[in-house]
């Protein structure tokens, strides 16, 4: 039995469609991370699961129980809000026990649950304090503690770490992952931070404009994005894209041409439906671009970011028609796994292995190159 099933969830505000036919099945114990750009509907979807946002159509099951029209408190869910949403007039212990109190559970049971949650989250010394006396990280832990005490079937997290500073965020990320392992509970986590998505998820759900673009393990999504959007959304720095054209179609592969680069062969999927002359988008991850003193194609260093163990190079390759680059047309991002002695204005030669390239084409900008090994 699945922990959570969403069948064709639709949500519209007048003529605006926030969610368009969301289908998703989550197994018991999974850690699902929903990512997507602002306004993609990820928070709306989470609030719909919580019952805080009514949906227009579709059905929702939690542990086999239809909860489409159930009240938030009756769904067997608990939620951590971005703003923590702690009750400011209640102590930490009262905050954590409030759900049980509303469920009219006996006092001893509430105390027991609060004590246990406080132990897990190292809040035992803070139980009598008010939220305003706590630090950001502690408030976050109280918000999580409030969900634990209710032992829900599904935990929901709405961008819980976005109000914390970078160091604390890393720490809480580890704590939430540890908590997930310890409780073995189903968790659904919304974020716009792809590091959180990649590091915490057992499966990532990529949302865009109210639709699910792709669902899969972090590595699956990173190595084999279904389409241009997912390829561009996951990975930092972002995948390089440039415009190209099909010059020849053979069985199993096509020959592709783009400015500056010699025509090269890319293995494509069977149903690629490409013909000579078709415009396509070529993608190459920053780490797939190599650098040399000759060969490949010439470019000029535009900006260097020295990150210690690694170096990010932004290079200008004039004639190459890059698409949606972070830093403007003509710019390629190169990720070098070491210290690199480049400075602005240096001429470099870039090259990539066609086996590492992605092809995107057709109306949907679907991935046409064959899947890569993980």
């Amino acid at each position: 039995m699945s922990s959570l099933e969403l069948h064709h969830i639709e949500k519209s505000y007048g003529s605006y469609h926030a969610l368009r036919g969301i289908d998703l099945t989550v197994e018991q114990g999974e850690f699902i991370v929903m990512v997507g750009p602002s306004g993609c509907g990820k928070s709306t979807l989470l609030k719909s699961i919580a019952g805080l946002e009514p949906i227009t159509s579709g059905t929702m099951m939690i542990n086999g129980r239809d909860v489409t029209h159930a009240q938030p408190g009756d769904r067997g869910i608990a939620m951590v809000f971005q703003s923590y949403a702690l009750y400011p007039h209640m102590t930490v212990a009262q905050n954590m026990g409030f759900g049980l109190r509303m469920a009219k559970r006996p006092k001893t049971e509430i105390e027991e649950a609060v004590t246990k949650a406080a132990q897990i989250l190292r809040l035992t010394d803070q139980l009598e304090k008010l939220p305003k006396q706590l630090s950001g990280g502690q408030r976050q832990r109280v918000a999580i503690g409030r969900t634990i005490t209710r032992s829900p079937e599904v935990f929901l997290f709405d961008e819980p770490l976005s109000n914390l500073d970078a160091a604390l965020r890393t720490q809480m990320r580890v704590e939430i992952s540890t908590l997930h392992a310890k409780l073995g509970a189903t968790m659904i986590y919304v974020t716009h931070d792809q590091v959180e998505a990649m590091t915490m998820a057992s499966r990532i759900v990529v949302l865009n404009a109210g639709r699910i673009e792709q669902v899969g393990s972090p590595l699956e999504l990173y190595r084999n994005p279904d389409n241009f959007f997912v390829a561009g959304f996951l990975g930092a720095p972002r995948m390089n894209f440039f415009a190209g054209r099909v010059v020849q179609v053979s069985t199993g592969h096509v020959t592709v041409q783009c400015p500056l680069v010699e025509p090269f062969d890319v293995a494509v999927v069977d149903n690629a439906k490409l013909a000579a002359g078709d415009s396509i988008t070529i993608g190459a991850r920053p780490e797939a671009l190599g650098i040399g003193s000759d060969g490949g194609f010439p470019a000029k260093v535009h900006l260097v970011e020295h990150l210690g163990r690694e170096t990010i190079l932004y290079a200008d390759a004039g004639a190459l028609q890059t698409i949606g680059s972070d830093t403007g047309t003509g710019n390629l991002t190169v990720h070098l796994p070491d210290v690199a002695p480049f400075t602005k204005g240096d001429p470099v030669h870039l090259r990539f292995d066609p086996a590492d390239a992605y092809l995107f084409g057709g109306d949907e900008q679907a991935t046409l190159s064959i899947p890569k090994s993980i």
């Binding site: 938030p72 608990a78 939620m79 809000f81 971005q82 703003s83 759900g99 509303m102 209710r150």
Partner: protein, 294 residues
């Protein structure tokens, strides 16, 4: 000169800006209060020289049955006015719903706020008019005869307070509406997820967020009840036989109609002392809140 300005602008500018308020407050409030206290120790008709009587006015006051009637009426005002905050909250919760046409309903509830209290008094005087007033019509629809509220010495104060309650409830409603709009959606959401519904939601999640609003509503309502004057003046002039008078009206009546400025000032001083309790409570709360905020 520019050098002088640069060295001293740290205190010159704030002083200049605060000055008008200080002067105005000093003249209108502080000086007149002190002068009023001074007058209360004299026998004075407003024209001839003042005659020192010490605490004589106060001694007379505490033997004056009219003073105790007024004091009792002020207490009635205070108690009945305390209905305004909860009623205002109830209406605010009602009109805060996202229902079509609610904007119109909301603006209807706003109306008494834009009416002059004199107009409210006149409207209610008509409502209470025996024979053809709205109240009389309602009673006659049930075959009964409406009591002549404004000429019944036992009911008259309640009738006046009820009229004054109307704008006061609207005022509290506006305060609560503003408070409700500033509530965090997430907090309500958290309450819903925790299973709080209906009254539980109201008492455990919503109202605790509105304590500051509730405090302001109660304090302002209390002070409004104590300084009530205009409705009494318009609807009854304290009558019948002073039975609906309040301290503020009695003070006015004694000073202006009976030319007993000293006696009126003594009433004013007692009223001031009563109000001081609420004002000190209000200010200390506000200052404590400021300290916490800083």
């Amino acid at each position: 000169m520019p050098n002088f300005w640069r060295q001293h602008r740290g205190w010159i500018a704030p002083t200049l800006f605060i000055m008008p308020a200080v002067v105005l407050f000093g003249v209108v409030i502080v000086a007149s209060s002190v002068q009023s206290l001074w007058i209360s120790l004299h026998d004075w008709d407003g024209m001839s020289p003042m005659h020192w009587v010490g605490l004589g006015n106060y001694q007379e006051l505490f033997r004056d049955p009219q003073f105790f009637t007024s004091l009792k009426n002020n207490c009635i005002w205070l108690v009945v006015f305390m209905l305004a905050p909860p009623l205002g909250l109830g209406i605010a919760l009602l009109v805060n719903q996202q229902i079509r046409g609610m904007r119109l309903v909301k603006s209807l509830f706003f109306i008494p706020l834009v009416l002059a209290s004199v107009a409210v008094g006149v409207v209610f005087t008509w409502v209470y008019t025996p024979g053809f007033g709205l109240l009389a019509l309602v009673f006659s629809a049930f075959g009964a005869t409406a009591p002549a509220l404004l000429s019944d010495e036992n009911l008259v104060t309640f009738a006046v307070v009820f009229a004054a309650l109307w704008p006061q409830v609207a005022f509290c409603m506006v305060l609560y509406l503003a408070g409700l709009n500033s509530l965090s959606d997430d907090l309500i959401g958290a309450g819903q997820v925790d299973g709080a519904r209906g009254l539980n939601m109201l008492f455990h999640v919503v109202l605790p967020q509105l304590t500051q609003v509730t405090f302001i509503a109660i304090a302002i309502t209390a002070i409004g009840a104590l300084r009530s004057f205009d409705m009494v003046s318009v609807m009854t002039q304290g009558g019948p036989f002073g039975s609906s008078s309040v301290l503020a009206y009695q003070m006015y009546e004694q000073s202006i109609f009976s030319y007993r400025f000293g006696y009126g000032a003594a009433i004013a001083s007692v009223l001031f002392a009563i109000m001081l309790v609420f004002i000190v409570w209000y200010l200390s709360r506000i200052m404590r809140a400021d300290d916490r905020g800083a």
